[in-house]
Symmetry: C2
Subunit: 383 residues, 2 copies
């Protein structure tokens, strides 16, 4: 008998109530019962995104919603800046290039956040820039960018700020309207503890103005088609939506509402701090040098140990799925997710298993040291 724990930066663990909501009898996506679900989800997502503007929903992964922001706002040849602090920033650049945008890429060493000063200089020397793409939380390293600071640069210049907050949203504060963000894309399978398959985007009025002028072809991803369908007498999606996932997502959003968004952010911050304190107390080195977000922690394996081996032993011996490094970082780091349906004891059991894993791999580690490190943070937070 071995219980399973999903401690990756997504898909994340799903509460039983949300899992079971998927199993309700299928309803038709043009019938009144579904419309009620769509209305509720849309209202809840507006709160989560901090916007009074429109939200569109897609049956897709987060990458689909990233693509949607490119094809809905821009035209071939448009100049854009892509800020990359990791794997997912690189992905945004790849999408923008694929669709013929002229991309200026501001790349940062993995493990560091982006510096707003660099964007300011770039926008000064490229005043024709139409949009800036940025990752909120890049799960490849756990680093988070300061969206508010970037919004202060783009907004007065009337440049669209497009945010991949697939992993950031729900784990850290984000205010689409107040921070002058223009498109924020996210998904169901991270902080929102729902299975993958739903993506969504919040859209500012500046972004809608750009949609009108965009000349890139679009059909499935069309924001306008989504808006038109939602504005029918019976609100609906333009194409058959993933009904069972949406019913489950609505349940998860009810749980978010009950916890309260601010409490959810605090919980994620506490879990992140405890994880990092525990890892340091075990003598491990964290990968990022600053700008940590709250969703995932990247860790350097002890000297001479392959990160992939740790991931494998954690899964096989203890039933805990953590993540290895992506791309260039494969084998060089491992990542512990603390995103979504996670509480204090999940962190404790993960670090306890990690201590045992390292001991098995011949690393000198004081058993209980990591656990104690997290306990101290948790007890202090309650005091």
């Amino acid at each position: 008998m071995q219980k399973k724990y999903l401690m990756t930066p997504g898909p994340t663990s799903v509460p039983t109530d949300v899992l079971l909501a998927q199993a309700r009898d299928m309803i038709h996506h043009r019938a009144p019962a579904y419309t009620e679900v769509l209305r509720e989800i849309t209202a809840r997502l507006k709160k989560v995104l901090g916007t009074e503007g429109d939200v569109v929903i897609f049956g897709s992964s987060g990458t689909g919603a990233m693509e949607s922001s490119v094809v809905n706002l821009f035209s071939p040849g448009d100049k854009v800046v892509v800020i990359s602090v990791g794997y997912f920033g690189d992905r945004y650049a790849a999408i923008a290039e694929e669709f013929g945008l002229q991309v200026i890429k501001l790349s940062y060493p993995r493990g560091s956040p982006a510096d707003p000063l660099d964007l300011e200089k770039t926008l000064e020397s490229h005043p024709e820039t139409k949009g800036v793409f940025i990752t909120h939380l890049d799960t490849s390293t756990g680093v988070e960018n300061d969206l508010e600071a970037f919004g202060r640069l783009t907004n007065p210049r009337n440049v669209a700020l497009i945010v991949d907050s697939i992993s950031g949203l729900g784990s850290s504060p984000l205010y689409l309207d107040a921070w002058n963000l223009d498109v924020v894309v996210s998904g169901s399978q991270k902080a929102f503890m729902t299975p993958p398959g739903i993506a969504f985007a919040g859209i500012s009025s500046r972004a809608w103005n750009m949609v009108e002028r965009s000349r890139l072809p679009k059909f499935y991803w069309s924001y306008q088609k989504s808006k038109d369908a939602y504005n029918k007498p019976i609100p609906q999606n333009p194409f058959t939506p993933p009904v069972s996932l949406l019913v489950a997502f609505n349940e998860a959003l009810k749980m978010v509402e009950k916890e309260g968004l601010e409490n959810m952010w605090s919980r994620h911050r506490l879990l992140a701090e405890a994880t990092r304190a525990g890892l340091r107390a075990m003598g491990l080195k964290l990968f990022a040098t600053g700008g940590w977000g709250n969703g995932v922690t990247s860790v350097l394996p002890p000297e001479g140990v392959d990160g992939g081996k740790i991931v494998r032993m954690m899964r096989e011996e203890f039933g805990i799925t953590i993540a290895g490094g992506q791309g260039d970082l494969k084998g060089k780091i491992f990542r512990i997710g603390h995103l979504g349906y996670v509480d204090r004891l999940d962190i404790i059991l993960t670090l306890a298993a990690l201590e045992m894993t390292l001991a098995r791999l011949g690393v000198e580690v004081e058993l209980g040291s990591g656990v104690r490190g997290t306990q101290e943070v948790f007890l202090k937070a309650e005091g």
Copy 2:
């Protein structure tokens, strides 16, 4: 207490085992447990599509997979023929036009199938045609096109034949390899009795050759990215797939395997014949004039009765969701789906409820006549 019945052409009713398979603990999409699911689904889909070629899987509705066939095979300005017998043929034309293809549209009156002779003439006068798009079963009317006959025209001319079999696959025979089809797109939520959110495409070697030359931009829909991810040492999807839906889809495909594909086709044919016999026995007129497929039956409401009213009363009074007309046919027809997880008694109860609905609406109808019409077909089939 009112039980619910989903008798639409999709999403269709989902068996409890498939519903509950969604509720299993979430697994990570790069971990071995998921790989096994992906391998099994891929193998099963190849059988269902009648192909030894590649199958790619998307988290999206069927429309997403339709878009994928346009952006993966073609380049702006390419000449294509779109054969339309209804709402979904029109959709393929709209997608192809949106992406800059030069579209010759062969439109047929709603309720009639396409005539291969027309395509033959068109291909003779437009020898530069690169592809032909066709709907297998157009659920807007229930009419099915003879794919094999069209494949005999396109194959010797080395023209790609691209098939929307979202609703046809599983309800009628289709053999991708033997009929020389090049791309067949379909989805989870029709004959395959799984919730919506998964689309897939079978791809011929001719189609792969076209993928290499295509200049339309693509990222989420890229067939090449799917193939590359599947061919990694651990087969996977390029982007986070809808894991819980895929686990459920695999269960449904196991049920298909158990029933046997040929038996599944026969069951759908029998249910379609019984539905039509029953409707005629009630004195109703069917909408299509020929070329019926097996997935859905379109019906003309009795003189002076709005189709929408019938749909509403069936749902509100009897808990049965059937479908109204789409686009131009709104209010003018109603549609009964018999697709997926449907057996003889579902047809009988639906016609019984329809008899009562019509009686309530003041239509002169002999109670039991429709039911008797279906019973006769069912009894004869067993004899």
